[in-house]
């Protein structure tokens, strides 16, 4: 893959990973390692701990997530993340736009032949 494509893809992914994280937490609260594991199990998102933790702290600062400490059966307490009501609204908004956008782009690309 060309270098400028890689840079462009990383820009495109940023928003998608944010939406994926909100979507993941809509199902219930999770702690850091669980979030990293769930997201990195989806190869299309190409996330690592190095991208997830800064993202979590950014989403928290933006008021979309909050966190609480819970006792853990192994080791020190864990920080669990969950959606705030604002995060929930943001997820709804982003999901709606995501579907419209991906439908539109899919329709367009269906008429183009691409080497995958």
């Amino acid at each position: 893959m060309r270098a400028d494509s890689v840079a462009r893809i990383s820009q495109m992914r940023k928003g998608a990973v944010e939406l994926a994280t909100l979507g993941l937490l809509a199902k219930g609260e999770l702690y850091g390692v669980e979030i990293v594991d769930s997201l990195s199990a989806l190869p299309g998102l190409a996330v690592t701990a190095g991208t997830v933790y800064p993202l979590l702290s950014r989403l928290k600062k933006a008021g979309l997530l909050d966190s609480a400490w819970r006792e853990s059966s192994a080791g020190p307490p864990r920080k669990y993340y969950r959606l705030t009501p604002e995060g929930r609204r943001s997820l709804d908004d982003l999901t709606c736009v995501w579907r419209e956008m991906s439908d539109a782009v899919e329709t367009l690309l269906a008429e183009v032949s691409v080497d995958v």
């Binding site: 990383s10 190095g50 800064p54 928290k60 059966s73 307490p77």
Partner: protein, 314 residues
């Protein structure tokens, strides 16, 4: 009538944005959004006012757009840490330092990189937060902003006290030895630690006092003004600790070697080691104590609320 309302809304957004980066794009996007939404809803006056009221006040809209733009630039900085440029393969950055930029490089446990592009000048900076995580002293999200907010005041004062003690030691050492030191003192050491360059006493020691003492005085002044912010004060403490430790180390070696009897230039390497260790502790001790306080507080209140088992994931 509704056109006027739209015009007024856009104008107020424009006024709030001022000449911020990308203001023109924000305004173009806003106008397109209003036009599309109004059309979609039939273009009546009531549709227009519904669209505008959904957007909130023009000032709030402008602020949200500005924050979003700023957020995405810090995101770039976080994720890719685009250095401001490179010389001979080393990153350089000549933008001014502030608390956020210092903390993002010196104490950023969420970022796994131990070597960060330096905040000012050429080369790299050590991310002591990533080092703490690598050493198994915590998880990447253990030491957030709340940990520092919970740090006991004494630990922050101790961190700030260290550079004061070092700066005072430099002053005392120079004052006590001044009369007995020869006119020329060593200012450069060879690889084996033997002095191989000498300068006049007032210049050499004057420079050490300037580098070691003045920043500490200025830093303390800034720290007092930053009373409420633990992060800011620790950023100041870390930078000053590094500077004063090195200056004190060099002062000790200079004074010791000035007699010409023995050489101890290699002690500067020890001073660098001490500098790194103390810089780490400046962040780590308040963070560790802060997170412990956070745990006590939140687990206690969870137990009181009876929702202790709420997050029962094993």
């Amino acid at each position: 009538m509704s056109d006027l309302a739209v015009k007024e809304y856009v104008e107020r957004v424009r006024a709030t944005l001022g000449n911020a980066d990308g203001a023109a794009d924000v305004l173009a996007e806003l106008q397109a959004h209003i036009r599309d939404e109004c059309q979609r809803r039939g273009g009546s006056d009531s549709a227009t006012s519904a669209v505008l009221s959904e957007l909130g006040s023009p000032e709030a809209y402008a602020t949200a757009m500005r924050d979003a733009a700023r957020g995405s630039t810090t995101a770039d900085d976080d994720d890719q840490t685009l250095p401001q440029g490179k010389i001979l393969g080393m990153p350089y950055d000549l933008r001014g330092a502030n608390t956020e930029r210092i903390m993002r490089r010196l104490w950023n446990p969420a970022d796994p990189r131990v070597f960060m592009p330096r905040m000012f000048g050429v080369g790299w900076t050590i991310n002591f937060g990533a080092l703490a995580v690598k050493l198994g002293a915590g998880r990447p999200d253990d030491f957030g902003d709340e940990a520092f907010a919970h740090a006991p005041e004494w630990s922050v004062r101790a961190a700030l006290g260290m550079p004061v003690v070092f700066a005072a030691s430099i002053l005392a050492l120079v004052a006590v030895t001044w009369r007995t030191l020869p006119l020329m003192v060593p200012t450069h050491w060879g690889p084996s630690g033997v002095p191989d360059g000498w300068s006049s006493k007032p210049i050499a020691l004057g420079l050490l006092l300037t580098v070691g003492v003045i920043p500490a005085v200025v830093g303390m002044f800034l720290a007092v003004r930053a009373e409420g912010s633990v992060r800011k004060r620790l950023a100041i403490a870390a930078v000053l600790t590094a500077v004063t430790t090195l200056a004190l180390g060099i002062t000790i070696v200079t004074v010791h070697d000035a007699s010409g009897v023995s050489s101890s230039g290699n002690l500067i390497i020890a001073a660098i080691g001490v500098m790194l260790l103390l810089s780490f502790l400046v962040f780590y001790i308040p963070a560790r104590l802060g997170v412990a306080a956070e745990w006590r507080q939140s687990l206690d209140s969870a137990a009181d609320d009876g929702q202790y088992n709420g997050g029962g994931k094993q």
